[in-house]
């Protein structure tokens, strides 16, 4: 019996190669996409689960709610919080460790390199089970002269030699001393949020400023004692802050420290997908929402493939009515027939999943390359194989059940009577319904993809208020050795014919540096509850506005012609009466200070802290000399807030980047800039970026998601059309007789083409009707996430275009076939009878 089923099944599949191909290939592609996305999801969800103590490790994050700012969460906090917090909660916390980020020069022998490494506490060696290849990591972190290197870094500098005991000179922050290599550890796996190229211990004297309460340089991790409960510990964070955090009285007498600063604990294993502060992690973070959306879309693609499968099986099955009738006449029971047809369907699905695996293997390198992951199919993983087989069987049953039930229910007498079409009205309706579902999905996906892409492009290309083209950003200008020669460096740069303008600053667009930095102005309202108000701070040098092409709305920028321009050094002007400096503000700050027109602000006085006497901050009178438009200097993800552009009258101002506006070829300009740098600072590496690259890097994540979405959406449309093509071909074949009759009665080619095309346009049009509200609702909500976004009304034309595209693609799919059928001589059609 089974042999007979199999023979019939295989012959049937071979006889109908086109449908077999569409069903199987579509399903294989859908399954391949699912396999890949599941692998991807599995990896995303596996982050940091491999650490032995993963379930007891938490990261402490901070939310700072300064007056004038909405609460700002940060994944990093002051270096001064770890130890007191540990002491305060000693009963529950077993270890704490901190990581910060330094960018030292490495001197090995005569060579100088630049590396990003981390400082940490020695407890890291107890909390995280590093796989040590040689040496002893506890020893490396036991004092501030040891260093532990990752395998990659050890190999980079020492090749195959044993690095243990070798000496590396490190220059960073305020430190300049030798470190001895005491351990080499295996590179951390990809699925961890930690990036630790090398580790040294934290020494407060190397950077005392990173330990002030409002600093945010350190990631803080704690490991709970076995049995300790985080839900019981978290509520104690507020008490800790109120008891342990000194607060300047200027924030107002009634303000409790915990109202300004609050801590929370985040499980280590959730950091990767639930970090909502992008750019403030050691690595690009994942995103639970994007992952969920991607998985949802993948299931939709699979659904489309399953629908093709069901639709074509149902359609084809009507051709087998005669076989069913004969089997029934010969004694087959309904149950046996159902088993036969579902069995065939499962066979096809299993074949498809095999092809799907092959496709997944072929595409995997592309995905890895694109995602930066090292994903692989593990054929020894029986549970994964089981899932795939079960999935295939489920798809087989789903695809086969409808035709099996319908077919097995036919009455043999009705079928065997000649001249009777066996395709029932219900099954035609059923198929059309499924086509509607497919195209609804396809149109929604098209709209979603276009809107996401559009929003990304909009953000990338929107007028940010500064010029982005032809700018080279050179780092390290705040370093000792460079700092002293900044004027000379600028002079030399300006002597180059390609260089139009040069400026120094602490921030460059999209660098994320300094976004969080605030300074305070006295609230313009004398009776305000909080007398100090936090505004954004951009520390800049001369020619900043010119270099970035920012036109001031009123007043002027800083100039060396005015000796009193800018803010005085801290404490230098305390006790002076009258105006002690000047400031440039943006339009928002000017409005906040009460000036309706930018020109009203110019020449006015604002009170800004310029130093302190024991117990209190001293405010100085600062004159507003210029007002800029609200330049979106940091990121277009956030609204511009009141900000000031500050010039500090000090040789030591933290102007860490130099931005050069050049003309002509970028390559040539970069080479000339580099030559001068090497001449002036032979011992300091030349590190430069193009401003455009910095801005684009900020949108890497969005671009990546948008690429995945586009791929899936295109796949969905292709699969939906493939299904439609199959159905159209089938329908044309089934209607050959009808078409013949119509032609005999005088229908010409265009009448027939119109008939066939219209038949399939109906479900597609209906699908559009359903898709529009879904797409409009979803995407207008999604756009709400962005302060600067596409106009809502743009969704309508996007929907319209997506619909037209869907219709055009559908027509393109059907029309060739329809033409072929319609052009055939009518006698051929009738001869089939």
């Amino acid at each position: 019996m089974f042999g007979n089923y199999l023979t019939v099944a295989i012959r049937h599949l071979l006889q109908n190669r086109l449908y077999t191909f569409i069903s199987m290939f579509g399903l294989a592609v859908g399954l391949a996409a699912s396999i890949l996305m599941l692998l991807f999801a599995q990896d995303e969800l596996s982050y940091d689960k491999h650490w032995q103590n993963a379930d007891r490790i938490y990261r402490i994050t901070v939310t700072t709610t300064l007056p004038g700012k909405t609460g700002q969460s940060s994944t990093r906090l002051s270096g001064g919080i770890g130890e007191p917090l540990f002491e305060y909660l000693k009963e529950d916390i077993e270890y704490f460790t901190r990581f910060d980020h330094i960018n030292p020069f490495f001197s090995i022998g005569d060579a100088i390199h630049n590396e990003y490494i981390r400082r940490t506490d020695k407890a890291s060696a107890d909390m995280f089970d590093f796989e040590v290849i040689s040496g002893d990591i506890h020893k490396a972190l036991s004092d501030n002269s040891g260093i532990a290197l990752s395998e990659t870094l050890a190999r980079k500098y020492f090749g195959d030699e044993d690095p243990i005991g070798k000496v590396i000179g490190l220059t960073f922050l305020a430190a300049n001393r030798d470190f001895q290599v005491r351990a080499v550890y295996r590179d951390l796996p990809d699925n961890t949020v930690l990036r630790l190229p090398a580790l040294i211990t934290i020494n407060e004297a190397d950077s005392p400023w990173r330990f002030g309460w409002l600093d945010d340089s350190f990631y803080l991790y704690v490991q709970l004692k076995p049995g300790a409960d985080i839900t019981r510990i978290e509520p104690q964070f507020n008490d800790f802050i109120d008891n342990m955090m000194p607060l300047p009285s200027d924030f107002g007498a009634d303000v409790k420290p915990s109202e300004l600063i609050s801590l929370s604990a985040q499980p280590l294993t959730e950091i990767h997908l639930k970090s909502d502060v992008s750019g403030r992690e050691m690595k690009p973070a994942g995103n639970m929402q994007s992952l969920a959306i991607t998985l949802a879309i993948t299931s939709l693609v699979l659904l489309i493939a399953c629908i093709n499968f069901t639709n074509l099986s149902t359609a084809r099955s009507t051709q087998r009515a005669r076989e069913v009738a004969l089997r029934k006449v010969l004694g087959a029971s309904r149950r046996q027939l159902i088993i036969q047809f579902i069995g065939e369907s499962i066979l096809l699905a299993l074949l498809a999943s095999f092809v799907g695996l092959v496709i997944a293997e072929l595409v995997l390198p592309l995905l890895n390359n694109f995602s930066g992951k090292q994903l692989g199919l593990d054929y020894t993983d029986l549970s994964a194989a089981g899932v795939l087989v079960l999935l295939a069987i489920a798809v087989g049953i789903l695809g086969g059940i409808y035709p099996a039930v319908v077919l097995s229910g036919y009455k043999p007498s009705a079928i065997l009577k000649a001249n009777q079409s066996s395709d029932s009205r219900q099954s035609v309706t059923f198929r059309n319904l499924l086509v509607v579902v497919q195209f609804t999905i396809a149109v929604v996906l098209m709209v979603v993809t276009v809107v996401i892409y559009g929003q990304t492009q909009y953000a990338l290309n929107m007028d940010t208020g500064y010029e982005r083209e032809n700018k080279i950003v050179v780092q390290h200008t705040g370093r000792k050795g460079v700092r002293e020669k900044r004027d000379l460096l600028k002079q030399r740069m300006l002597s180059l014919p390609e260089v139009a303008s040069v400026t120094y600053s602490i921030v460059t667009p999209s660098s994320k540096k300094g976004y969080n930095s605030d300074f305070f102005v006295k609230h313009p309202d004398e009776n305000a509850q909080q007398p100090m108000y936090a505004v954004g701070r951009n520390i800049i040098g001369y020619d900043f506005f010119r270099t970035f092409g920012i036109q001031l709305l009123a007043g002027r920028g800083y100039s060396p012609q005015y000796a009193m321009d800018g803010l005085p050094e801290w404490n230098k002007a305390v006790g002076n009466n009258g105006i002690v400096g000047s400031i440039v503000v943006n339009e928002s700050l000017s409005k906040f200070l009460g000036y309706t027109q930018p020109q009203d602000a110019v020449g006015e006085i604002v009170k800004i802290p310029i130093g302190e006497i024991p117990g209190s901050v001293v405010f100085g009178d600062i004159e507003i000399i210029g007002v800029t438009p609200d330049v979106k200097f940091h990121s277009v993800r956030n609204m511009v807030r009141p900000e000031a552009y500050i010039f500090i009258r000090s040789k030591d101002a933290p102007l860490i980047d130099m931005t050069i506006h050049f003309t002509g070829s970028r390559k040539r300009a970069t080479r000339q800039v580099e030559n001068i740098w090497r001449e002036l600072f032979p011992e300091i590496p030349f590190v430069q970026k193009h401003l455009n690259q910095l801005v684009e890097a900020e949108y890497e994540q969005e671009m990546r998601i948008s690429t995945i979405m586009t791929t899936l959406a295109v796949l969905a449309v292709i699969l939906a059309c493939l299904g439609l093509f199959g159905l159209a071909t089938f329908s044309a074949e089934r209607r050959v007789k009808e078409i013949g009759i119509r032609k005999v009665l005088g229908a010409n080619t265009s009448d027939i083409v119109r008939l066939l095309v219209w038949q399939f346009s109906k479900p597609v049009l209906l699908a559009n009707l359903i898709a529009w509200p879904i797409a409009l609702w979803t995407m207008s909500r999604w756009l709400q996430n962005y302060p600067y976004r596409l106009d809502d009304w743009l969704l309508l034309p996007i929907c319209l275009v997506a619909s037209l595209a869907a219709l055009a693609i559908a027509w393109g799919t059907i029309i060739g076939n329809a033409l072929r059928v319609a052009k055939a001589a009518p006698v051929k059609a009738l001869r089939c009878e």
Partner: protein, 226 residues
């Protein structure tokens, strides 16, 4: 009305070429009632298909109303066909998904006729062939004789001048067969030209001319006195 000159038609199956019609010359005048007879495979249906412009000859000339249409394009043939020719088939060839009424109306859909006029004509012709009470039925609910009445109604609803019937009684019992022949006779009496292919000598006898085909050639023609 129709003049065929040395018409040839052959079919090719693989390497074998079969000559279905060989040098057919024939003239059919308006108002004729012609029966085509001959054994299976002699080319009767092929001849009818050529006459009905459902197929094109390999050689020879076909004059319709004095126009040589032998190398007309498909769309030109369609235009002539739908104005002038109605078909009746042995297997009825009704569209299963359409009702009786809709099947008949189909023949008018490709003409520029208003909906109202279409309905009127369909009603008229249904009454004429006696299936008015079955208007809303599907073909599968009708007997063979009734289905063929629908086919006849469809063939004449466009007021075609020429009716081509390919063994219209082949699938019917003798009573129903006679019915159909009566209808064709009546149409011819009203001036419609009728060409039928049949195996039934009695039915052929009702025609005014009988043409005998054998192996693709006309071997005999009997004309009755008017």
């Amino acid at each position: 009305m129709i003049k065929l000159k040395n018409l040839n038609k052959s079919f090719r199956t693989g390497d074998i070429e079969t000559l279905a019609l060989n040098g057919i010359s024939l003239e059919i005048n308006a108002g004729d009632f012609v029966a085509v007879m001959g054994p299976s495979g002699c080319g009767k249906s092929t001849l009818l298909n050529l006459l009905g412009m459902l197929d094109t000859p390999n050689a020879g000339d076909y004059f319709f109303d004095g126009e040589n249409i032998s190398d007309y394009h498909e769309s030109q043939l369609t235009a002539i066909r739908k104005r002038n020719i109605g078909f009746i088939f042995q297997s009825f060839n009704l569209i299963d998904e359409l009702t009786v009424e809709e099947n008949i109306e189909l023949a008018l859909l490709y003409h520029k006729i208003s909906t109202k006029e279409r309905r009127l004509r369909v009603r008229e012709v249904m009454d004429k062939v006696g299936i008015g009470h079955r208007a809303k039925h599907m073909p599968s609910q009708l007997s063979g004789g009734q289905q063929q009445r629908v086919a006849v109604a469809r063939a004449v609803v466009g007021r075609q001048r020429l009716i081509l019937a390919d063994e219209p009684t082949g699938n019917l019992d003798s009573t129903h067969g006679a019915d159909v022949m009566d209808m064709l006779q009546a149409l011819n009496d009203e001036g419609t030209t009728v060409v039928i292919v049949t195996h039934n000598a009695a039915h052929a006898d009702r025609a005014r001319r009988i043409i005998n085909l054998f192996d693709g050639s006309i071997v005999a023609e009997n004309k009755k006195a008017a």
